[in-house]
């Protein structure tokens, strides 16, 4: 994949399609590549945090910094793999895996109450006290049969999250 040219060969496209398990169509991959090149202003082959934050719509998202930890420095292959969770063709399991990884920042496969509190702090900022956050998280855990000290796994996430309620679909604009 030439990093200075903005053209993907047919060979590249097929390789990328296999890499993301056929979730994106070839047209979508081409469109995403154009977008990648637009975000990667200096044509390095990866996108810096600053370049992501130059998109105002992204910069004002409460989870932007958290997502940057996984997003920054990615090359195009990793870029589309990460974004494939947001395709309509991605499975429920795939989407939940993405959500799980957002919570599990230390990648140990377990999400504790503190991990949940961290994300909740990102979401609510200074508009909730730590006590209020703790209160609602403990209540939620206990009602669902867990405790303060429980460590949720990916399987737990699959069971707890509601398949029908998940709103994780972004359309890739193709011309």
């Amino acid at each position: 994949m030439g990093n200075s040219s903005s053209m993907l060969t047919q060979y590249d496209l097929e390789e990328l399609q296999t890499h993301c398990q056929g979730i994106f169509s070839q047209r979508e991959i081409v469109a995403l590549y154009e977008r990648f090149c637009a975000l990667d202003r200096t044509g390095k082959g990866f996108i810096l945090s600053d370049e992501f934050m130059a998109v105002p719509e992204f910069a004002l998202n409460p989870l932007a910094e958290r997502l940057l930890r996984t997003l920054e420095g990615v090359n195009f292959k990793e870029f589309i793999t990460l974004l494939s969770a947001f395709s309509a063709r991605a499975s429920y399991e795939h989407k939940v895996e993405f959500i799980f990884r957002v919570y599990d920042s230390d990648r140990n496969g377990k999400v504790t109450m503190y991990d949940i509190l961290e994300v909740l702090r990102d979401l609510s900022g200074s508009f909730l006290t730590d006590d209020q956050r703790k209160q609602v998280v403990i209540q939620a855990l206990e009602e669902a049969g867990f405790s303060e000290d429980s460590a949720l796994t990916y399987q737990d996430f699959l069971e707890v999250l509601n398949k029908a309620g998940l709103k994780m679909e972004v359309e890739v604009p193709v011309d």
């Binding site: 995403l32 975000l39 992204f58 409460p62 989870l63 947001f86 209020q132 309620g165 604009p173």
Partner: protein
């Protein structure tokens, strides 16, 4: 109402500012009323952990966002792709670069020489005849702009009454390139407010444009704003000054969209005359993408194309309504310009090209998300 106990859901918080709907109204509309089921015990945790709407917004912004679209130069459709059209296109290139360009360059150089030969004497020798001097200087600047327009074979259609010099008036226009100023200046010697530029453009700004009463500013200096506001006010109150032209977007946009207007022009207590400009991309895209090319490169591109086609509409004057804030007034005028030029409105501040969005926007979203939880806690312990 008792069902709401276990249903906190993170709403799809709109990332574009929606001035019409109260955020709490949006939240209430989204609160889900679920009948009791065996999964009720897991529902609170489920809703708490489900950050999918917020993640979705982030992914949506990464994949495509309306702000970046405003500054994209869209490449034209390639039409020279077959055996008949390609030679024609090659012939076109030869004519444009080999014949048109040198002729235009000569015209422009000629225009510049005449301008310089006349401007300096007029400026220095007629110091005591201020009115005459200013009249001549205005005429000379209009002439120079005419030379510029001729150098790209500008096909400009002006609609509506030409601007006249009157007290307490300000002209506002949408902005695509610095050539906007040249096109408008050709018929009327406006005084414009502009960003200080380096290079030969900066030189132009020092003497000739200064003589018209143009006001320079530096968008990177925060204190500059108050100083500039003061200068603007002085300018419009002076009956001798040239009509004032302001580009409220504050930056060049690709002529498909119009970004938010800055309120400076709308709080001067003047009548606002909107001007809408729309370029026809048929021969060349007139959008000056200042990140990708310098102004000189931009001009060269225009000079090696067939023509620059543009429509200029001088629109009806607008005054601020009694119950309108300057921001609302600006929005109203922006609407009028967008409609006339046929370009789409986006709710972004043009300066986001140079700076990050204010943290207040993120805090607004955090507050809305926090509200959902606060309401849940209040209901639970009411």
């Amino acid at each position: 109402m008792s069902h709401e106990k276990n249903t906190i859901r993170y709403p799809r918080v709109e990332s574009e500012m929606d001035f019409s709907r109260d955020p709490l109204e949006v939240l209430e509309a989204e609160l889900v009323m679920e009948p009791p089921k065996s999964e009720l015990t897991k529902m609170l945790l489920s809703n708490l952990l489900d950050i999918s709407p917020i993640l979705n917004e982030a992914a949506s912004a990464i994949i495509d966002d309306s702000f970046t679209r405003c500054f994209k130069s869209n490449p034209p459709e390639r039409w020279n792709w077959n055996i008949y059209l390609f030679p024609l296109w090659c012939l076109g290139v030869v004519i444009r670069y080999g014949i048109l360009f040198p002729v235009r360059l000569l015209l422009l150089t000629g225009g510049w020489l005449i301008f310089l030969a006349c401007f300096y004497p007029v400026h220095n020798l007629l110091k005591d005849h201020d009115k005459l001097r200013r009249k001549l200087e205005r005429g000379l600047v209009e002439f120079l702009c005419g030379a510029f327009v001729a150098s790209w074979t500008g096909v400009i259609k002006y609609h509506g009454p030409r601007p006249t010099s009157r007290p307490k008036q300000v002209f506002v226009a949408n902005h695509t390139s610095m050539i906007d100023f040249i096109i408008l200046e050709q018929t009327t010697a406006f005084a414009c407010i502009m960003q200080k530029h380096p290079g030969w453009v900066g030189w132009l700004q020092t003497l000739p444009l200064d003589s018209l009463g143009c006001i320079m500013f530096n968008r990177n200096e925060a204190q500059d704003r108050l100083l500039v506001a003061k200068k603007l006010r002085e300018h419009v109150e002076n009956p001798e000054s040239n009509p004032l032209l302001i580009f409220p977007e504050g930056t060049c946009v690709n002529n498909e969209y119009v970004v938010m207007f800055k309120k400076g022009a709308f709080e001067l207590g003047c009548t606002v005359y909107p001007i809408a400009m729309k370029y026809n991309k048929i021969f060349v895209d007139a959008f000056w993408n200042s990140r990708k090319q310098s102004f000189t490169q931009h001009l060269l591109r225009l000079m090696t194309s067939w023509a620059v086609v543009c429509d200029v509409w001088y629109m009806e004057p607008q005054t601020i309504l009694p119950d309108e804030t300057p921001i609302e007034f600006a929005e109203r005028v922006r609407n009028l310009i967008g409609e006339r030029a046929g370009i789409k409105m986006v709710p972004w501040d043009g300066y986001l090209k140079y700076q990050r969005p204010s943290p207040k926007l993120k805090q607004k979203k955090q507050q809305e998300l926090a509200q959902v939880i606060i309401r849940h806690l209040e209901e639970k312990f009411a």
